[in-house]
């Protein structure tokens, strides 16, 4: 039967409307089916890549991502390190209470930060390092000059001092704004604090022209990357301030 149809098609006038219409429809259906099959069958591998990348970023904020590039099996290397250091992942709300039944790892930060503060699900990763010290990793997401920027900041268990930070971007200017993902820039955040002496939340200022070395809340901006620097500053402030109540609650618990 199919052969018959094909035979009829072959005899058709190639310039008729019907032939053109059938040809176009057939082609579109065929291509759509082909691409759908390809997309579905490659999805698991793509998902795995995204997950591994996120885990690498989280490990980077702890300074534990060395050797990833040279590892023979990147996925396994990252998986092992992640399981070793990340003790717990949980979600809190803006009042500082834990939210149950939400998977912290799969939260889409962009969607959460589009919601009003009270409704946000805020993920936290709790890590235990080799010396048994406990760190808390806060994911960040914001806007740079040309596109999204994101990162992770790890805090000591005083919920104040920064232990490490990592930032990444999608399309900032190479050599200028894109410098936020260099080690030199990220190193500056180590040891800075996000609360002042009166326990007021001040975040980290990215100072144009260079921050005072003794300033516990400031780092140098990137020369030529003013708008990216501003976006980064806003990102840190917006994201961390959502966790402010949680941080304060934990600090009070520590004092008791």
């Amino acid at each position: 039967m199919i052969m018959g149809i094909l035979d009829n098609l072959r005899k058709m006038d190639r310039n008729s409307n019907l032939y053109t219409f059938l040809y176009a429809s057939g082609m579109v259906i065929l291509v759509a089916a082909l691409l759908a099959i390809a997309a579905t069958s490659l999805k698991p591998a793509q998902q795995k890549n995204k997950e591994t990348e996120k885990k690498i970023d989280i490990l980077k904020s702890l300074g534990k991502a060395d050797g990833v590039e040279t590892a023979s099996n990147k996925h396994k290397f990252v998986e092992d390190a992640f399981n070793k250091y990340i003790a717990e992942m949980f979600v809190v709300n803006s009042k500082g209470d834990k939210v149950e039944g939400v998977d912290a790892f799969s939260i889409d930060l962009k969607a959460e930060f589009a919601k009003p503060l009270e409704q946000r699900n805020l993920p936290i990763y709790k890590a235990t390092l080799d010396d048994q010290s406990v760190k808390y990793i806060i994911p960040l997401r914001g806007r740079g000059l040309w596109g999204p920027i994101w990162g992770y900041i790890s805090l000591n268990d005083d919920f104040n001092t920064i232990y490490g930070a990592t930032f990444a971007h999608q399309s900032e200017t190479p050599g200028l704004g894109a410098e936020i993902n260099t080690a030199e820039f990220q190193k500056q955040f180590v040891g800075k604090s996000i609360f002042d002496v009166n326990n007021k939340f001040v975040s980290i200022a990215v100072v144009k022209g260079g921050a005072d070395k003794s300033d516990p809340h400031g780092v140098d901006a990137i020369s030529g990357g003013t708008l990216t620097s501003k976006g980064l500053e806003a990102m840190i402030k917006d994201c961390l301030s959502s966790y402010e109540t949680y941080f304060n609650n934990q600090k009070n618990k520590n004092h008791e």
Binding site: R14, Y23, A24, M27, V31, A38, L42, Q46
Partner: protein, 219 residues
């Protein structure tokens, strides 16, 4: 009754010419000046440039092959749309494969893989060659043009990476200790990282090629 057609050998002189001409005297970038946008955009580092070149080669070769196979059935009025659908489908396939198997590179190439669809080389080869030629020569023509495109990409990215980042294929060739930051005298040329410098490099390559091959100079 049965007439045996004399078959042209697969690697006849004519077919080999299809492969070698686009590398030099019919180069898509330096002679036909097609596909310039991606040549500027993805040549900051050699690795992405190489992956881009391979991707373009696969897409030109297979779109040429498919269009050539279909050439007698395509209704003339919608032939451009048919070509576009074939190219787009192949590009999406390549993009999905890159995302699955070479994720790091696909991130660096970002939108430019998708933009292969608008690469003039593809449409140019389909219109000018595949619609009027048999599948095998069309396929070879696609490979040849991909090679010609890729060669230029690699040459440009070699210089841009060397002078702009001090590395080749990601490996450091200019010692860290030469840099001003570390008390040396050397500094990377920031201009090399920006697209305009790639355009200047393309210009230099065209200049060198034409001074060596005078036939290419227009009257």
């Amino acid at each position: 009754m049965s007439e045996i057609k004399e078959k042209e050998s697969w690697f006849s002189a004519k077919n080999l010419k299809l492969l070698t001409e686009p590398i030099n005297s019919k180069n898509p970038i330096t002679v036909l000046v097609l596909g310039i946008c991606s040549a500027l955009a993805v040549t900051v580092k050699m690795k992405p440039a190489f992956v881009m070149a391979i991707s373009v080669m696969i897409v030109t070769a297979f779109s040429n092959l498919i269009i050539s196979l279909l050439r007698n059935t395509i209704p003339n009025r919608i032939r451009i749309i048919v070509q576009l659908v074939v190219i787009a489908a192949l590009v999406i396939l390549v993009d999905e494969l890159l995302k699955a198997y070479v994720y790091d590179v696909s991130k660096q190439l970002s939108v430019f893989v998708g933009l292969i669809i608008t690469n003039c080389i593809l449409m140019g080869r389909l219109e000018a060659f595949a619609l009027g030629n048999k599948p095998w020569p069309s396929f070879v023509d696609g490979i040849g043009n991909g090679l010609g495109y890729g060669l230029i990409l690699l040459v440009i990215s070699f210089f841009r990476e060397l002078l702009g980042s001090g590395t080749i294929w990601g490996y450091r060739v200019i010692s860290e200790s030469f840099y001003v930051n570390n008390g040396g005298f050397y500094e990377n040329n920031g201009m090399m990282i920006l697209p305009p410098m790639a355009l200047i490099l393309v210009g230099i390559i065209i200049w060198i090629q034409r001074s060596r091959n005078r036939k290419l100079i227009e009257e």
